[in-house]
């Protein structure tokens, strides 16, 4: 379809869509006056029933944990999707490591090297903090996992591709990712065995301190590992494409 024909088609459908959009927005609840019942029940029961102060984490990892399991597996499967799409195709060869390294051009500047190295440990610590306090303060496995994965990429920025490859053996990252995904599912099975239903919160929530919320901190840790593993796998797959794969010979 030509560009012009596409714009004409878009203009016609946009008018229709704008009408539908206006109709839909007219039916929205008044801003600032949400009457949903579930949110109020969750907010009221998070602290007394689960000893967890973060109502969103209680929703995600306890009351709505089955959805989160599905969400986690979406991420897990998408890693395989990226791996399958970016695998070495016929007619491509993996460059020698030395060549790949040379293609990177001049190495990172001294300031980037220093800043990256200084930041790796604090960022790792921040990630662990965000994962482990997910049931108490804003954060959790998804957010903390991304921060943990970022620490690995600071290493890439400051030390270069080869050091990054050495610290990131693919099999270990794969095992961490799969272990995180399996861990969450196993917590669900634990609810089946020790409680009544799949993903039931079968650990007593406790009273105060870091280890409250029953299974919520465990689920947070499992998801944190899975997300960090998935992020490292996906981003390093793109890095491999840039640095290692030779263009198809024409």
């Amino acid at each position: 379809m030509s560009r012009r024909a596409r714009f004409v088609l878009f203009a016609i459908s946009a008018v229709g869509a704008a009408g539908l959009l206006a109709w839909a927005f007219a039916g929205l609840p008044e801003f600032g006056d949400y009457q949903g019942r579930y949110g109020r029940i969750v907010a009221a029961s998070a602290v007394p029933d689960r000893s967890a102060t973060e109502a969103v984490a209680v929703t995600v990892f306890d009351y709505r944990a089955l959805d989160t399991l599905g969400e986690e597996f979406i991420l897990f499967v998408s890693v395989f999707g990226v791996l399958a799409l970016l695998r070495i195709h016929r007619g491509e060869r993996e460059r020698g490591r030395a060549v790949g390294e040379g293609r990177r051009g001049p190495g990172p500047s001294e300031s980037l090297r220093l800043a990256g190295r200084l930041l790796v440990a604090p960022v790792l610590l921040l990630g662990i903090y965000i994962v482990s306090h997910g049931h108490l303060t804003p954060g959790g496995g998804f957010q903390g996992g991304v921060v943990l994965g970022t620490a690995m990429f600071l290493l890439f920025l400051s030390a270069g591709y080869l050091a990054f490859k050495r610290v990131r053996p693919v099999s270990v990252v794969e095992a961490v990712e799969a272990g995180g995904a399996a861990g969450f599912a196993l917590i669900g099975v634990g609810g089946l065995l020790l409680g009544a239903v799949f993903l039931e919160n079968f650990i007593s929530p406790g009273k105060s301190g870091l280890l409250t919320g029953g299974t919520i901190p465990l689920s947070n840790a499992a998801v944190g590992l899975e997300v960090a593993g998935a992020l490292i796998m996906i981003l390093s797959e793109f890095l491999d494409q840039r640095l290692l794969v030779r263009e198809r010979s024409r």
Partner: protein, 114 residues
Amino acid sequence: MTALAYGVAAWLLVVGIAGVVTSRNLIHLVVCMSVVQASTYVLLLGIGYRSGAKAPVFADIPTGTRVVDPVVQALTLTDVVVEATVIALLLAIAVQAHKRFGTLDPDRLGAIRG
């Protein structure tokens, strides 16, 4: 003020779709898709808002304080994760399209051959 949050959501949706339609670069197209998806975050969070309410975290406020809806915030988290996976897959497809056709312009991509 009432209409502003919903207006922002609608604006992001429209701008994102316009960007997708007029895009001349697959990477730009993927970024525009993420703008479309950002409108859903604003819409969800806007719907769950209660005037004068606090964030649903009881670490430093007493239980029973008026808070905004935690369920739509959990939905937004799901939304963000799904967006990240969709973008990773679309970018991987863009990399392969560039390898095969030597261009990122959607108009210049040929028919897909097996």
